[in-house]
Amino acid sequence: MSQVSSQTLADASERKGLFSRLVDAFPFRWWMALPLILLLGIFVLYPLGFSFYLSLTEYKLTNRSLDFIGFEQYRRVLTDGDFTESLKITLTFVVAAVLIELVLGLVLALALQKQKFARNITRALLFTPMFLAPVAVGLVFRFLLNQQLGLLPNALAVFGWQVDFFSPNMALWSMVLIDVWQWTPFMVLLMLSGLESMPKSPFEAARVDGASFFLTFRTLTLPMLAPVLIVALVIRVLESSKLFEYVFVITNGGPGGTTESLQFIMYQTGIRFFRLAEASAMAFVFLLVLAVPIIWMLRQAKET
């Protein structure tokens, strides 16, 4: 009896030896990282890789052939005037919206920092826009800016200003307006926490030294806020370049194609017109375009 059991034990320990040898073959930290790598692989790398593969085919949602055609889709996308036009539109939107949000956000954060009364409720109210679904916000503004029904045009009319918010000249700026309304609070949030975590004594020293508001702002506030500003910039540039919801529920890309953002035409090409491979190609071109400023900004962040 004991002979058998000791034999079994010996076998068991040898088996265990194999397994633990396998585990030991790789550094422990690799094993720790494995779950995350698996998750990333399944939910990020695989879809990305498959999308890229699709972009090299003629795949349509109604004709799911995976015939390889090389970079033909990319050629189509880049020579098609619509894509480059859409790129311009999207970039204009991003630059305008983010700049306004940055400046407005900073001004508001500075003001909020000095506020003494009803601080919490003001902040709670101010931050609500960013918690709303963009589609809901888009729909609300569609009617808010409506000439007949909307509060804004009617309020402006009191001062004698006739503004058509969805004319070909104004439509994209109306999209900017909506984005600013919804996302400036995000900037305020970031900057306010940046401002409130700054040490107070250099500012008192500046006060004693007699520095004007602008001198203090330039030499103290801005440099100290720079890391936060860059983070805010990166996040907003990435997010706003995905302009879609407002266009989808309000303008359908119009009037006259003036609000056809990249995300919108990608959706249209891939889902409405079923040309998924072409949409994939668009997405990757877009990725490359975005990569440039993002890498630049991250480099800046590293230096500060």
Partner: protein, 356 residues
Amino acid sequence: MASITFDNVVKNYGTFQAIRNVSFEIPDGEFAVIVGPSGSGKTTMLRSIGGLESISSGRILIGDRDVTNVAPKHRDIAFVFQNYALYAHLTVRANIGFPLKARKTPKAEIAERVEDVARRAGLEKLLDRKPAELSGGQQQRVAIARALVRQPSVFLFDEPMSNLDAQLRLDLRHEVLELQQSLGVTSVWVTHDQEEAMAMGDRILVVNHGIVEQNASPENLYSDPVNSYVAGAIGSPRMNMIQGHSANQVLTADGQNYPLFPGCPDGNIVAGIRPEDIHPVESGREGSFQAKVQLVELLGARAIVSLAVGDRRLNAVFSRRELGDIKELDTISVSMAKDRLLFFKPDNGERIRLAG
């Protein structure tokens, strides 16, 4: 004229009274030290002089000017902060020059004055560095230089030595004192360290819970404290306080008798004697009593000797010579120097002055 006057100043934070009706005057050119424990209001007083805090009532005057409602930059003061408060993104040169730039001084003048002050503060070689590249002591010098460059009427120092090590503290102390002497600018220095206060001040304001207990020269504070708080605050180790009943020139406390002398007050009193005023004597000498040596802490030239008299502990400081070969657990005779005994009322600590 840049004297500093507090006239019935009160400062409340909500219901908390930080400064409770304080009045004093610091004459022009003096180096005044405000000393007290944390939360005593000393920093609040300093910041009120500088205008960084507003006051709830009363007046503050610098020279003849009522500056109660004047902004800091118009009070002609310079402030040195506890944590230096340097401008992290500017070079040392720019830091020092900042106050001048804020007043729109011409560039050439700024450069000249900065060089001058930097030399004075020993910073000529560090002008192009950033604060993060400097040691604590160097940073503090930059802060002082920045204050100097303004040539203000008043210097205000908010515990600037707290973050420095002991030797650095001593060195900087000397430099600041020499500087102040040569410039003759009225200065107010806040500290919690009574030794620092005693060493630096022309006058010292002992602050406790928002009031100034005593405003006097170091000598007066030491030998003629106005109450037991001041007596205990000044001098290290602390003055020994013996509370008991005095009759017939003998103080009885906890069953022990301490010999007093003619003219001492009778009744319930607190007798105070500084450790350095307890001396070992031959046994049986008039006015001596027995004590058992509990602990001897040798500090080089002197020793702190912890004595047990009955259940009471008394601290004494003997010189090396006095210590002789007294060891722990010895029973010795000691006496208290007559002319150094101080008496206080037991209820409020007020000093009982002897006639004559």
